[in-house]
């Protein structure tokens, strides 16, 4: 075996060990987790998962998270696509400044911005709704989407646009029927990044919700602070937070391999 393959194997094992431990714990009883060190569950149990799937305050957390993450991905993509096209094809007044300003929105430390966010979304009556979290997450997902998509679009020769316009295509029809299919791998990669960053964000999502749109990550922090930690349920909930993302990446894996190859990303 070559040394570089050895590195990859060691790295993958390093990635999997904590995940294996989480999975292992999720099938154990609390007594076994705290009582003894066991490499695999001796008293195999599905009780931890049963708790989550029968308690609405648990499973609604997943539903809420999935709703706002999906909304956010759709909004981010639909506004970022035309903007990325503009950045990749035209120069216009203030374009460079605008591009850098968009990126600076990823750089604001959240702790103090949470209160203004809360006030802003309360004042327009969106507090504790899915759309509020989706809109707030646009703050960091839209700039990233524009950045990634611009890279993919710059890879498409400009002659294609010109030929289409000469052939009498209007802008909207050209954009939807010719241009978008050409960069669909790029759209897949961008959607993956939007999904990922929205799914893992906790502070904004927790601040903007209380009951109806409470995300799973916030539901889990509640359990941590409860008296006597329920490690088994916590581990099961942790395993279930990985599942939606793993499904998404399994479906887009070929796009990602291909899409990453085309773009400048």
């Amino acid at each position: 075996m070559k040394p570089r393959h050895l590195l990859l194997v060691v790295y993958v094992v390093f990635l999997m060990l904590p995940l294996y431990w989480l999975l292992n714990m999720s099938f154990k009883t609390n007594e076994e987790i705290l009582g003894a060190f066991t490499l695999f569950p001796h008293e195999f149990t599905l009780d931890n998962y049963r708790v989550i799937f029968t308690d609405a305050s648990w499973y609604m957390g997943y539903v809420n998270s999935i709703i706002y993450v999906t909304l956010n991905t759709l909004i981010s993509l639909s506004v970022a696509l035309p903007a990325a096209y503009a950045f990749s094809r035209y120069t216009f007044v203030g374009d460079k400044h605008l591009f850098f300003w968009l990126l600076t929105n990823r750089m604001a430390p959240p702790a103090v911005f949470l209160l203004p966010f809360f006030q802003l979304y309360s004042s327009i009556g969106l507090f504790d709704t899915h759309i509020a979290v989706a809109l707030a997450h646009c703050l960091f997902n839209v700039p990233l989407s524009v950045w990634i998509l611009e890279g993919f679009m710059s890879g498409v020769p400009k002659e294609i646009d010109e030929t289409a316009f000469v052939d009498g295509y209007g802008f909207t029809r050209f954009f939807l029927t010719i241009f978008l299919p050409m960069i669909r791998s790029g759209i897949g990669v961008t959607a993956f990044f939007c999904f990922m960053f929205s799914w893992v964000e906790l502070l904004l999502a927790r601040t903007l919700t209380s009951v109806n749109a409470k995300p799973i990550a916030a539901v889990m922090t509640r359990t941590v602070s409860a008296s006597g930690m329920d490690w088994g349920v916590l581990a099961a909930a942790g395993v279930l937070t990985i599942v939606p993302g793993a499904l998404v990446i399994w479906f887009v894996r070929n796009h990602i391999a291909k899409g990453f190859a085309l773009g400048r990303v």
Partner: protein
């Protein structure tokens, strides 16, 4: 090349409106807080630059800042080379390539506080696999009591969590290099190192820029993971800048100083991103000539 067309603003307008809505109002509110002393909703006094002066002389900020710089640069020094190395070792095509991609992406998809929880358990010397393994090597390891162990655990956790992002981005950059480049290098009899230095590295410039900027920004604002893992302890040894800020803003509810603090924080990140951006662009230009 690009045509000049100011009507392109119409295409950018939705993005501008959407981001401005969530960015400008909160930013202005924070600027507003930072120059006032706030006693209640209707009771506030304009204090000018007082909070800024106070914050810049504050020990907690200076210590937090120092810790933050050490942490972020350690992260970049470990994750960028490791990410490149992993990307170079990844299979390029076939089922194994897809499988590697999926496995590498897994840590990225876990909510950040859950990452902290995973490592909190994994690192425990009595019930966690990682802690047990390290103890078995004869090291007296306890991340909750020993500052060095706490630092090491936070670093290893971040490497576990984020190296995949660097690796995925570099993998995409490597896939974009046409085979002809490698054939030319082969004909010239180039060594593996020469191929890396003169063919692969220049082509990775753009993705590395994205990777360095994203890793710098996110590691400089790291909050949830160390908060769950160590709670900033033992003592203050893993209290990073954003946690100092959160204590000030949420714990003591000193909005004025906290707002001044976060604006300074924001400007530091902005300055460094700009520095990275311009240096890497310069380097790229130098190597192309």
């Amino acid at each position: 090349m690009k045509t000049e067309n100011n009507r392109a603003w119409f295409l950018v307008l939705p993005v501008f409106a959407l981001v401005a809505f969530s960015a400008i109002v909160p930013l202005m509110t924070v600027v507003n807080y930072s120059v006032q002393d706030i006693f209640g909703p209707d009771d506030r006094v304009f204090v000018g630059a007082e909070w800024y002066r106070e914050i810049l002389q504050d020990d907690r900020l200076q210590q937090g800042l120092l810790r933050q710089f050490v942490f972020s640069f350690a992260i970049l020094l470990i994750e960028i080379p490791l990410g490149i190395a992993v990307a170079l070792a990844m299979p390029r095509r076939g089922r194994l390539a897809s499988l590697t991609l999926v496995v590498l992406a897994l840590p990225l998809l876990i909510p950040w506080n859950v990452v902290g929880t995973i490592w909190q358990i994994f690192g425990r010397a009595d019930i966690g696999l990682g802690g047990v393994l390290v103890t078995a090597l004869g090291v007296d390891y306890n991340y909750a009591a020993n500052p060095f162990d706490a630092w090491a655990t936070v670093l290893v956790m971040d490497v576990w969590h984020w190296t995949s992002l660097v690796a995925l981005l570099c993998f995409s950059g490597l896939k974009a290099i046409p085979d002809a480049y490698y054939q030319a290098a082969k004909i010239d009899g180039a060594s593996a190192w020469a191929v890396f230095r003169f063919v692969q590295l220049p082509k990775l410039k753009n993705v590395l820029l994205i990777a360095v900027l994203l890793r710098f920004m996110d590691s400089f604002m790291i909050y949830s993971e160390p908060f769950v893992l160590t709670g900033g302890g033992p003592g203050n040894s893993t209290t990073f800048l954003s946690q100092t800020l959160a204590r000030l803003a949420v714990g003591q509810f000193d909005l004025g100083p906290a707002a001044a603090f976060s604006l300074i924080y924001f400007l530091i990140i902005l300055l460094f991103c700009w520095l990275f951006y311009t240096t890497m662009m310069q380097l790229g230009r130098g190597s192309q000539q």
